[in-house]
Symmetry: C2
């Protein structure tokens, strides 16, 4: 007979996992059930609240399609994504820290050479980005594969425009022999995460905003090193203290310098003011087993 009072009911559920052939699955599910039941008991979840939760999760699932992942957004806005990132990316001091991946990465971004304009028509103030990829001991990492992606000045990524038939403000390039790289793009600006779905309603009910501070996404891959997925944030913008997805780390905030119209870093003449960013990425050598 199955007793129903917690903790006996909880134990009955844990006992039902006894035959699970996968040790890890049993461990994960047991912890999940213990915390799920402890949550419901702690707040004495009402039947109406339980059903509101069922309806909410159903709507989150039904908002997902091949262009939108509302469950990742939910995970992001509850800090779970950043927590999982932190748990799985502990690195020695001096290495560039990781942050959330986000939903707007694309597998096959256009390959470009150093110096290219990756905006490809995306609207925004000109921004010249330079950087280095180094190992923890300071040695340059040549030929590192660098994916970069960002929103335009309206706050949207290329993949959010249904009518767009090419990538914009997104590219893949490689570091030179001395570890350096550079490209031209547009200035990163704050934007709101998609808030027209159930997660947006949740944020509104919690009186939370949906803004992310201005940032540029990077994914850097080099043989012999751990993959780095991170952002560089603008030090001069709002929301650094209240990122809707809790992704800001102090070490990832950098100064983006504003320059009046004149000669740009690539030697051309800019008739508008422009910005520059320079940032050094430090990769962690992969463990010998990896």
């Amino acid at each position: 007979m199955t007793p129903t009072a917690e903790p006996t009911l909880t134990q009955a559920v844990l006992d039902s996992f006894a035959g699970c052939p996968g040790d890890r699955l049993r461990t994960v599910m047991s912890s999940l059930v213990r915390h799920l039941h402890a949550f419901a008991s702690e707040v004495k979840l009402s039947e109406e609240e339980w059903f509101a939760g069922i309806r909410f999760l159903t709507e989150v699932g039904q908002t997902c399609d091949d262009k939108r992942q509302e469950f990742i957004l939910l995970s992001d806005t509850l800090g779970l994504s950043m927590l999982v990132t932190a748990l799985n990316n502990e690195r020695p001091p001096g290495c560039t820290e990781a942050t959330v991946f986000g939903p707007f990465f694309v597998e096959k971004a256009p390959e470009v050479a150093n110096g290219a304009d990756i905006a490809q028509g995306a609207q925004g103030e000109p921004c010249y980005v330079s950087g280095h990829v180094r190992s923890l001991d300071g040695s340059p990492i040549a030929n590192a594969q660098i994916d970069v992606w960002q929103s335009d000045e309206a706050g949207f990524y290329d993949v959010q425009y249904a009518e767009l038939d090419q990538h914009q403000a997104r590219a893949r390039l490689h570091s030179r022999a001395d570890g350096s790289f550079d490209f031209r793009s547009i200035l990163a600006v704050p934007y709101q995460i998609p808030n027209d779905g159930p997660v947006g309603k949740m944020l509104a009910n919690l009186a939370r905003h949906a803004w992310r501070p201005a940032h540029l996404h990077f994914m850097i891959v080099a043989p012999g090193y751990e993959r780095l997925i991170t952002h560089v944030f603008r030090s001069d913008g709002p929301y650094l203290d209240s990122d809707a997805v809790f992704g800001v780390r102090p070490t990832l905030v950098a100064d983006w310098l504003r320059h009046e119209a004149g000669v740009a870093p690539d030697g051309t003449r800019s008739d508008k003011p422009f910005y520059t960013l320079d940032y050094a990425f430090v990769l962690n050598p992969a463990s010998p087993a990896a």
Copy 2:
């Protein structure tokens, strides 16, 4: 700046609820986030496991439609539904205990008189059910509204048959002046919960079966009393110790008696063996405030 290591990250998420105007929402969400983060940290959830979870929840949401609620099934199979039922239906000893509602209730079941055959063509061995509805002090409750529903011998409820244009094995009746009621139906049998979706896959991965022990659903409503949602289970069947949804309570298990062909309780002659069930339901008076 938002720190990322638990517990500082967890605290940052809790702090983001500070402006929430609803005290109860803030309490529930804070507890949820604390337990969600504690779960991920306790098992050191990997990024692959996190993404498998995202995909699973998305599939659960997308399996829901107007006839199927896979998130309720998930809640049921993790014991959450029964826990919420138990948390919200604490009653004095002597009252009939509650159990899970299940997904197969229908708002407008056919109204029938006492003695009616509610099977309406559903296949199964004949079963005659009689009962009483009483208050905690033993006094009869007249005119209580009794909803009853069950599966057929194949293990399906009427609403699971897409082609069926009438209700079967489901009815609403009322108790007589002395609190008694009776109807004819079919014998309840064990059945599997829908297991062709993501929850079925989860159960298979956990090496759990999807069976529920044989039971009859009841919802009883009477003015001045707390609503009772419960089952009566067959004492002679399998799965009482391993109900896939953890709904069995010892007090809800009753003997369903088998009789050889002959005179049935309604005075007619049954040329097949038949079953009888007699069960007394005891309602809890509603609190004066209710």
